[in-house]
């Protein structure tokens, strides 16, 4: 099934449970749904896998909007089903109570936090709005007037809440170097909470001048990656100079990730292996996440250049 040598994660017979999906009546009872813990496991793993894929979109040789949309829709479907049978609420509550939030995949965690915030705001959890870690280099517009704001970068990376410190690690390596805030036309800096704070940069503006709300920004950030901006004005020599001493090797994702694991070439699913956990058992183990966190802090330092 895989290119030879790749480890298989689940037996394909086990996949039947996931592949066959919604068997039975249109609105199964919660009891019927939780019948198969194997199904829940598979579904959770599919969710984890999908979120990782979304975050690592830019690792592809060719960024692919169609693929991202399909993955995002899959995540939505899973979330809807989990919401219907109550597992979603259970998961978010468990995560909130967890000692070490970094046990969960970052994006899942963020997703839950978003839901929490929405709940706190008195709304029902909205359908999952795609939260992707924005590759800063795709969407940033460098501030042309005045000095380039390096301090804005630092403030963006420092988390809004302590829980996000684990979340922001992913923003670092995938931000591919110094991140620049985009300035709104009214001069206001983007500093949005939650999912946006892990992302280095907010979306570059459309030619048609959409003024994006906070919510739309998230989808924009993922899908906006795939825009091909029309030819920019010739690069400012001052900016070229600014970038000239940045070591281009830091832009090599492979180099970055090599620091994380000993394997010379790491694919997105190895990341899944190293970080994700399968099911509720994950919540109890905290030692592995701490060593991961140290490694990731290390990488953050490299990227930020401190």
């Amino acid at each position: 099934m895989f290119p030879k040598g790749t480890k298989r994660k689940f037996s394909d017979s086990g996949e039947e449970a996931v592949s066959s999906g919604d068997q039975g009546p249109a609105s199964p009872s919660v009891a019927a749904r939780t019948l198969s813990s194997s199904y829940s496991l598979q579904r959770q793993s599919l969710l984890d896998m999908s979120l990782i894929k979304l975050q690592l979109c830019h690792m592809l040789v060719e960024p692919n909007l169609c693929r991202s949309v399909l993955i995002a829709n899959t995540v939505r479907q899973i979330q809807e089903e989990m919401t219907q049978d109550g597992t979603w609420q259970i998961m978010t509550q468990a995560l909130a109570a967890a000692q070490c939030p970094t046990d969960r995949l970052v994006a899942t965690e963020v997703l839950c936090r978003q839901t929490d915030a929405a709940a706190q705001a008195g709304q029902s959890p909205k359908p999952y709005s795609v939260v992707g870690v924005e590759e800063g280099y795709h969407s940033e517009e460098v501030v042309m007037e005045g000095d380039v704001e390096t301090d804005v970068t630092m403030s963006t990376l420092s988390p809004v809440s302590p829980q996000l410190s684990s979340a922001s690690y992913l923003a670092g390596p995938f931000g591919m170097g110094p991140c620049w805030e985009e300035e709104e036309e009214d001069g206001e800096c983007e500093e949005e909470e939650e999912e946006d704070s892990e992302e280095c940069v907010s979306e570059g503006e459309e030619g048609d001048g959409d003024h994006l709300s906070a919510d739309s920004r998230t989808g924009e950030q993922v899908f906006g990656t795939f825009e091909i901006k029309h030819p920019a004005p010739p690069p400012d020599p001052a900016l070229e100079e600014l970038f000239s001493d940045v070591d281009p090797s830091y832009y090599d994702l492979d180099t970055v990730l090599t620091g994380m694991q000993s394997a010379p070439k790491m694919g997105p699913y190895d990341l899944l292996d190293s970080l994700s956990s399968h099911g509720p058992t994950a919540l109890s183990s905290s030692s592995s996440c701490r060593s991961d966190l140290n490694e990731l802090d290390h990488i953050m330092e490299i990227i930020v250049g401190s």
Partner: protein
Amino acid sequence: QKCVYSTWWPYLFSFLQFLLLTADIISTVEFNQSGELLATGDKGGRVVIFQQEQESKNKLQCRGEYNVYSTFQSHEPEFDYLKSLEIEEKINKIRWLPQKNAAHFLLSTNDKTIKLWKISERDKRPEGYNLKEEDGRYRDPNTVTTLRVPVFRPMDLMVEASPRRVFANAHTYHINSISVNSDCETYLSADDLRVNLWHLEITDRSFNIVDIKPANMEDLTEVITAAEFHPNQCNTFVYSSSKGTIRLCDMRAAALCDSHAKLFEEPEDPNNRSFFSEIISSISDVKFSHSGRYMMTRDYLSVKIWDLNMESRPVETYQVHEYLRSKLCSLYENDCIFDKFECCWNGNDSVVMTGSYNNFFRMFDRGYQQDMTLEASRENSKLRSVLKPRKVSTGGKRKKDEISVDSLDFNKKILHTAWHPLDNIIAVATTNNLYIFQDKLN
């Protein structure tokens, strides 16, 4: 000339040619309208055009081979310095214009820019200038005593490709399709969210005729995957989506064709519902039949033929590799589920063809309701020999010569195939190589 082999399958393809292309991955394959020329585009932005040899009158059963006719660099990588974003030079599509004079024209596109190329032959050159020597040096005017008219003399054939038009800056997203209109004056280009209409002579503007970009990108759930003009009706085109729908639009109805004239969609089979249902329903290619009465769509597991007069469901469905349905989770994990296979019709619309994995490709004869699996592989086929049909074993017991699903090589995928418009010659692209097969029967 009677067929030696008794077979229910009306075609016997034999291995005509194996062409080793560059180290770059082939990204598109297209015959021109006469079939004399075969164009390939690759990941490195190059276009290689092959020309069929004139048929030898002596060898009745053997069509001419294809030889390299022209090679040129169509697109170069572009780099947006401000965003550290590279725009790939990979040729996504090539489409030939109908031939009007001695020169040939084709459109080639990468993610962002479409170019019109003129390919012309030069086999004569003027000789006998008064003021210049043959090598170009100017003659001493004192030595010029007579006047003569330069004449054209034959020279070695030179094929030149020159860019005649560059259609740029009209697409924010990645271009996936181009299609020349039957009026031969306009063409469409489609990206993930928009379809634009161009006039071949005008490069500085295009008309946007479809725009499915939501006001709020967060609401984006569907993208355009392919688009094509109707072969006869110059006002009609279709575009397919990632949700498995095809919309047929009439440009006479409105300037912006966001609302379709017809919507083709097959209702989902509730028994097959899974988290992967939408992904596998995403249409990777759409092609009108030559007649214009039908269109064919390719989704991950099947090929469907639609009658343009019936929107509710396809008239024919062919399973390409149904044995993969139970493997969708693995294929999702290794991203194979996102592979975009193309499909094509034969000249008289009786057979359709598409690629699969393990360098297999599949043909479906609509008349005989038979199908065939063949393999494009140098190791497993000798030149000039008839291709042996392949079979993937789906049951428990694997018969001799069958291949089990688990030993299929998912890195060997055939995404691009083309069928000669008039003859039974097919071009099949594996990752780096182009295979040409011809039908042995006359």
